[in-house]
């Protein structure tokens, strides 16, 4: 969101509707998903999305630590979203800050909304998301990566969880903000969709939008999620039935 008193706002939208990196309002950044990127984890995925690099791993269902969190009738879903010290311009001190803890909470709740947790009572399903390089939209990239990692780990879910942030930039509602748009834009609205039901399990927003803009933003985000959903499925298919083609691909509007 626009920093108070900040200067040097770049041109975020040209007169012919091009964004700072040349994209149209409804265009995603290039997205590349690799399922099964790690050896130790039960499931994993690596996502490169624009200039984001995000790794996710899943462990479980496994014993609950600490024990007193165990639930008798379902698995608990724990998430730890973490940013590497070098993932942002100004070095981030290692350790969980308040932002990371909030994001971890809403992501865990989003996944608990789609995982069949009652099938694994007294266990924990642990999701770890490491942001190695950040350029706006890391929590959505993390959800996409974690979702593929959960599928890679064979955890039964209602559906995969595509996610994307919509925003408002120079008065326009646009899809998939990059860093400059996030810093100098007027609103940021990350969401995660259950494609099967059309419902949102993650939704946050900061900035200001009229009701009309918000309505438009929701529709734009749902559309974006559906494109990302196709890429997620493609990554999983490649993992289990590799075709010899490159796994990198670009998603255009």
């Amino acid at each position: 969101m626009g920093s108070v008193g900040a200067k040097d706002v770049p041109v975020l939208m040209t007169e012919d509707g091009r964004r700072i990196d040349g994209r149209r309002a409804d265009e995603l950044r290039p997205l590349r998903i690799q399922a099964g990127a790690l050896r130790q984890a039960d499931g994993s995925a690596f996502v490169e999305w624009g200039a984001n690099k995000v790794m996710a791993a899943v462990y479980g269902p496994r014993e609950v630590h600490p024990r007193h969190l165990q639930e008798n009738n379902k698995a608990i879903v724990q998430c730890k979203y973490n940013m590497a010290a070098f993932s942002v311009d100004e070095r981030k001190r290692p350790g969980l800050d308040r932002r990371s803890q909030e994001i971890s909470k809403v992501i865990a709740e989003a996944f608990e909304s789609v995982i069949f947790v009652e099938e694994y009572p007294r266990t924990s399903i642990d999701i770890y998301i490491e942001v190695l390089q950040a350029n706006a939209g890391t929590r959505c990239a993390g959800v996409v990566a974690a979702s593929v990692a959960l599928a890679d780990a064979g955890i039964p879910m209602v559906d995969l969880l595509p996610a994307v942030a919509v925003g408002k930039v120079a008065g326009h509602v646009v899809l998939d903000l990059k860093k400059e748009e996030d810093n100098f834009g007027e609103a940021d609205l990350p969401m995660a969709l259950v494609p099967q039901s059309g419902r949102l399990v993650l939704l946050q927003m900061e900035g200001h939008m009229t009701r009309t803009e918000l309505s438009k933003a929701l529709d734009l985000g749902v559309g974006g999620c559906r494109k990302i959903y196709e890429e997620m499925k493609r990554a999983l298919r490649e993992r289990y039935a590799p075709t010899g083609t490159a796994s990198a691909m670009e998603v255009a509007a």
Binding site: M1, S3, V4, G5, A6, N72, N73, R98, R99, Q101, E102, S104, K105, V106, E109, E112, S113, A187, L189, V194, S197, G198, R199, L200, V201, L202, L203, Q204, M205, E206, G207, H208, M209, T210, R211, L214, S215, L218, D219, V222
Partner: protein
Amino acid sequence: MSDEVTAEIVTTHILDLARGGRRVDGRGPDDYRPITVEPGFVTTADGSALARIGDTAVVCGIKLEPGKPFPDTPNAGVLTTNAELVPLSSPTFEPGPPHPRAIEVSRVVDRAIRAAETIDLTKLCVTPAEKCWTCFVDMHVIDHSGNIIDTASLAALAALSHATLPSKRFGIGDADTPLAVQHYPVECTFTRLGDTIVVDPTFDEERAGQGRLTVATDEEGRVVAMQKGLVGAFSPDDVKSVVDRAVAHGERIRALAREG
């Protein structure tokens, strides 16, 4: 075990009632519990309020102290928001470092205050890049009977609306002036109970619910912040209708915060 069984019975009852548009305490789906605001509750603070929504109570105190602007915003003061979910307020809270629950409350309240530009932070700059006011918004939840976010947010807005810059105490000016509040964001929280979405959930309704959705709107009817929490889902149409309801409630609650 006994607790779990009780909780399950209560949940079933709440969901049964909700099918008929009813609630345990007799409210309709779009009714808030009684709301009261007592500004000036804490005289050691530079601004304060005790807000109650039903049996949920939050004390907010504002402290204004000299500080240093952040390097990337040299012309602005600093706003710091913190919520304490002290174990006094609920059998479910334990002593220790801030739980993610408490962090979420403070960040959601902070987000609305910040996005709405509730206070003009540039007015809190004293000497660019060197000296500014730091505005601490501390929210102390003292009784948790559900819907902490709205209660804390209301306490914060009321406390800010009645706060004074203690310029004399710190030798920064000749007279103490009111903290200039320019926008009034109000947070409204909803929970899904089956096909019904109710406003201002109680503790039991939050536990029974299938997702929580908070929408903050300002006095111009704009949405300034949202937060979906807990396990559950909302359709885009759910969200749109919740926004309309939040705007309507916001107007009434906003008046309470400003007048006290």
